[in-house]
């Protein structure tokens, strides 16, 4: 899941400086779950903007704003309202903002900050579990990712900063990842894993080759471009 949080309202107003008419786009996917871009938040935003003297020419909440084709269809249906606006305010993750920008020739303002990818690679949502490091260490860590669970991405055991099992960064909410790993390995009777020296990470592997980064959709887009160029 793409985790997002709403930007401060003042910042959003700043984006709209000098513009009077705006069209709002929300998303029923992750943004709704994060309460940053569902119908309720879009309506609330509309009201707040109108309270500041802005005209909202209309709004739409797309099922999955990261689906570019779907966004294109939805906005087509609201063509007149979109055309009447100076800009679009997109209340969702960075992918949604980019998908909107890709199908509308207007300024698209982000209303949110995208925090992390959470479980975007799977259905186990709720928290960030993988940083897509390209060289998985779950074997030595008992199945808990040290890159997301530890604030310093340590791969060879805990720093000296944990207190009562909590991380030195945000001790109120953040468990020490290495404390969790230690407890798990101890339970599995595999503490020997904690004595294996893990070599420095090859961060180059975090940059996947283009062909792996792109999907079948990319191929379709390429084709679209080629057709348009003809």
């Amino acid at each position: 899941m793409l985790v997002s949080e709403l930007k401060p309202f003042e910042e959003i107003l700043g984006y709209l400086d000098g513009e009077n008419k705006v069209f709002i786009v929300g998303c029923k996917g992750c943004a709704e779950v994060c309460q940053t871009g569902g119908e309720a938040q879009v309506l609330e935003m509309k009201q707040k903007l109108e309270g500041k003297g802005k005209a909202v020419t209309g709004y739409t909440v797309v099922d999955f704003l990261c689906d570019r084709a779907l966004v294109k269809l939805r906005l087509k249906a609201r063509e007149a309202d979109v055309a009447a606006a100076d800009s679009l305010l997109v209340m969702t993750c960075g992918v949604g903002v980019q998908a909107t920008a890709a199908v509308v020739d207007k300024i698209t303002h982000p209303a949110c900050n995208t925090m992390n990818l959470g479980g975007v690679r799977g259905e186990w949502r709720g928290s960030e579990r993988c940083r897509e490091c390209g060289d998985c260490l779950l074997d030595v860590t008992g199945g808990i990712c040290p890159l997301t669970a530890c604030s310093k991405f340590l791969i060879n055991g805990p720093c000296g900063g944990a207190k009562s099992g909590k991380c030195e960064v945000e001790p109120d909410v953040r468990d020490c990842g290495w404390h969790l790993i230690y407890q798990r390995l101890k339970k599995l009777n595999r503490l020997d894993k904690m004595t294996e020296i893990v070599p420095p990470k090859a961060f180059s592997k975090m940059e996947p080759p283009k062909h792996l980064r792109s999907t079948i959709m990319w191929a379709l887009e390429q084709r679209e471009k080629e057709v348009a160029a003809r």
């Binding site: 604030s151 310093k152 991405f153 340590l154 791969i155 060879n156 055991g157 805990p158 720093c159 000296g160 900063g161 944990a162 207190k163 009562s164 030195e168 960064v169 945000e170 290495w178 404390h179 230690y182 101890k186 503490l191 904690m194 004595t195 020296i197 893990v198 070599p199 420095p200 990470k201 961060f203």
Partner: protein, 288 residues
């Protein structure tokens, strides 16, 4: 005799710590160093301690050498990637710095530039490995060096951590990766330290027990609450509380701890945190 030779000769060694200034006025740092000169075997130069931006550890070590004191360069993984770390190590060596202490470092969010990008490209274990690699004439990229350095390499451990086991497992890794000596987090409980020393006996590395000089009962309570791996027991806090002359009490406690723990380990590392002028008195009282 260098720190390495002293430790090898199984003499009880004494190290202390000096913090570089936040700025370029080095007068106080010089004063603190003068106080320690002749009384300690080497002085650690902290590397932007607590993630607070300061004068660098490398420049600080260079100054210490000019002032006639053997330095220990503290290096953290927080601010530099593997290129910068290895480069700094080479620079240190050509400047005559032989002792390095490899640390992970506090997270940037705890310091005075919380918005900085934390690096942690390496961790303390891989930093130790990097040092070993340089000594063997190769960098982490596998490339050959033109002349290789020789260091006396240290690391840290928190004998008061709870649970202690992961700390010891990591300490084992550090030894495997090349750590030759350890300076510990502050210890206030000799019994606990004795237990710790028993459980790491097999590691064959010199351990210098850490002493943080107490200023007041409030400071002790603060450390208990906020600093990982430090526990000041109630009876010491009470002692500080009752004492009329806090400074004298802090000196007395530190000296007592050194006396009680000196036979358990190879040396002591005194972290006076701005009270360097009290170190000679502590050493006198401890009979050193």
């Amino acid at each position: 005799m260098s720190l390495k030779e002293k430790i090898a000769s199984s003499r009880f060694v004494i190290t202390a710590e000096v913090g570089p200034p936040k700025g370029v006025d080095i007068e106080e740092m010089k004063k603190n160093t003068e106080v320690l000169k002749g009384r300690v075997d080497a002085v650690n130069l902290t590397d932007q301690q607590s993630s607070v931006m300061r004068l660098g550890s490398l420049a600080g070590c260079h100054l210490l050498r000019q002032w006639g004191v053997e330095p220990v360069l503290q290096v953290t993984c927080r601010d530099r990637n593997r290129l910068a770390l290895q480069s700094d190590l080479l620079s240190a060596y050509v400047m005559g710095v032989e002792n390095v202490l490899c640390l992970t470092g506090d997270h940037v969010s705890l310091g005075d530039h919380p918005d900085a990008k934390p690096v942690f490209d390496l961790d303390s274990v891989s930093l130790l490995q990097a040092v070993k690699g340089l000594e063997q004439g190769r960098d982490l990229g596998g490339k050959e060096l033109k002349g290789s350095p020789r260091f006396f390499v240290g690391a840290t451990v928190a004998p008061g951590a709870d649970p202690l086991e992961p700390q010891i497992l990591k300490m084992e890794k550090k030894v495997k990766a090349g750590a030759q000596f350890f300076q510990t987090q502050a210890m206030y409980e000799p019994k606990q330290f004795e237990e710790f020393m028993k459980s790491v006996k097999h590691l064959n590395a010199a351990v210098l027990v850490g002493i943080v000089v107490l200023r007041s009962a409030a400071m002790a309570r603060f450390m208990n609450k906020n600093v990982a791996g430090i526990h000041v027991p109630d009876n010491l806090i009470e002692e500080m509380d009752k004492a009329e002359k806090k400074a004298a009490k802090g000196i007395e406690i530190a000296a007592r701890l050194i006396r009680e723990m000196r036979d358990m380990c190879q040396g002591v590392h005194i972290m006076a945190i701005g009270m360097e002028d009290r170190v000679p008195a502590i050493l006198d009282a401890a009979g050193m």
